[in-house]
């Protein structure tokens, strides 16, 4: 038996694979984001303001956009859309409002996280202005109306007639302070 001559070489190679795969696990995080951006997987929408670049309004088509809100565990806010749904033509800019009130006896910083369903429509839903781009500090008992300005892209696949925009509200006071 040729004693231990090749072992170190083989072990080093395998150890490299181990390290590379550990790195790959972390590389999956940005890869996943890129993948979701391209495919619109998971209904992730843009998290910075989009500029309006549609080539006019397609009046022949009407899309219903529904708004729903929910509170994550442990945030005592009243949080709801002012209107529950709106009909838009692709390319048309609309402005809607959401209402929030801090019902607690202390100050809370909230953060709304949007998601669009069906997921494939997320890439065609453009937010020009959204309260979700920043966090919302509310003093105890304070209430606020928050704006969302958006348009639906004309390239929205024709089989999609209804979009649901869902906001989940989180308490991020700990991280924000």
């Amino acid at each position: 038996m040729p004693e231990a001559i090749n072992h170190n070489k083989t072990v080093k190679k395998l150890a490299l694979v181990v390290i590379a795969m550990f790195g790959f696990g972390f590389a999956l995080v940005p890869l996943y984001d890129v993948f979701c951006d391209i495919t619109g997987l998971n209904g992730k929408t843009n998290d910075t303001a989009a500029s309006y670049n549609a080539s006019g309004i397609d009046e022949s088509r009407t899309v219903t956009v529904q708004f729903i809100t929910r509170n994550a565990k442990g945030i005592p806010w009243q949080f709801s859309p002012v209107i529950n749904s709106i009909d838009v033509h692709p390319g048309e800019i609309k402005f809607v409002k959401f209402y929030a009130k801090n019902k607690a006896q202390y100050n809370i910083v909230g953060q709304a996280v949007p998601s669009v369903s069906p997921g494939l429509a997320a890439n065609y839903f453009n937010k020009i202005e959204c309260f979700c781009f920043t966090n919302q500090p509310l003093k105890a008992g304070e209430e606020i109306e928050m704006g969302l300005q958006f348009y639906v892209d004309q390239d929205l696949p024709s089989e999609i007639n209804t979009l649901t925009l869902s906001y989940t509200l989180y308490d991020i006071s700990e991280n924000a302070s």
Partner: protein
Amino acid sequence: MTTNIIEQESHEEHHDDHKMTGIKRWLYTTNHKDIGTLYLWFAFIMFLTGGAFAMIIRAELFQPGLQLIEPDFFNQLTTVHGLIMVFGAIMPAFTGFANWMLPMMVGAPDMALPRMNNWSFWILPFAFAILLSSFFMESGAPNFGWTFYAPLSTTYSNGSTAFFVFAVHIMGISSIMGAINIVVTIMNMRAPGMTYMKMPLFVWTFFITAYLLIAVMPVLAGVVTMLLTDTYFGTNFFNAAGGGDPVMFQHIFWFFGHPEVYIMILPAFGIVSTIIPAFARKRLFGYSSMVYATASIAILSFIVWAHHMFTTGMPLFGELFFMYCTMLIAVPTGVKVFNWVATMWRGSISFETPMLFSIAFVILFTIGGFSGLMLAMTPVDFQYHDTYFVVAHFHYVLVTGSLFSIFAGTYYWLPKWTGHMYHVGLSKWHFWCSLISVNLLFFPMHFLGLAGMPRRIPDYALQFADFNQWVSIGGFAFGLSQFIFLAVIIKCIKGGEKAPAKPWDGADGLEWTVASPAPYHTFTTPPSQEDIDGKYKDDH
């Protein structure tokens, strides 16, 4: 061959003085047979521990309503039961087989890296001590399921996440070291004349399994690290409020998790592929197709992970892609089942206990495979997801699959390990009690799942009461049956009919060319080409 045995025995005497005594022998040992024994005993102790948790779960589920335990403790039991059975029982048992048998099967004197081998075993008890100690803490043990989905394990964790993460890190390091050792041993230590395609299929399956471990255990280490920093250091990998994505956790976890499933079944294929030819007295049908089937299952396992997540709202093309890839795995698996049946076809079969367990494996694993195919279909998976149908499926492949192969392998090599034949009558009792009770335990779960009973729930609707009672009775019977197994093993170690070097006339392989019990040191001189080629040389 006879001269070989005598030679080995003289070596044994020569080396005897190196062996330490008492506890030090086991703590400091670098001998692959000692370490294999340690792994197997450790796995058995963990199997009984995880089994005890399952007994409490089944006692609670004996009747609808909450009788014995709090729901939170129930969740802790299901979580730790899963973790222990996967990482503490099945995987170490297979590593034990690898340690004991691989060097002997490839004609090597020991594993390639004996000191690392000692390490990879001895860190394991610490990992499970950390995990189990969390039961005695104020916060309790992990209660978020063995799949530890974020945010259950981060935002809503009961405080056990750190213990869980460190335990998994240690288990992962242990598995990676063990896997590196297996690969190096097989690549560098094969006896001269043993080409890759002359290796027993057992060696092939462990070779491929070790590669899977090396590829995915680091990903598991990565994902638990992210979990740790999310929970305690304010990162936002999986925290939606901070821009992270909890669904991404599932993607990364199952990227590890699906290959992990094959890590737990491929070695079982290897064991069964060794035993069936021995008792059918025919050479394994389609050896090379078995090798390629194993390799293709391993490769496919990297591109099917999202079939665990059909209900997360994937786009249609994603669902279709993962559905078809998953179904594709049925092809190489079908090749294997076909080959086992073809090996038995027109063989002179005798039904020794290892063969009984192997035949039960082929039939019951196939049932588990079929329910897996049903789960692979996206539309029906929406109904089956997170029900007892899933529980039935993975217990069929892991208990009647992996565990039965471990029983089969233990009976098959027990004469080689101990030098004694096991008590045949008791072993058959073990087989028949296990076979009947395991089906009573898991088969009705299919119906419960189809009727809509959710998994991981301590209480259930009244209409599920009858089936659950049967299942619990099956569970208790299966648990008790394992004490017969313990009795057989202890009896066999203590004494019994003296086993010859090769107790099975149809068996093939280098391990049978050394004496029984296998001397402390084997193959200090490489085996002859004749022994390597084995008895079926002319058939090739």
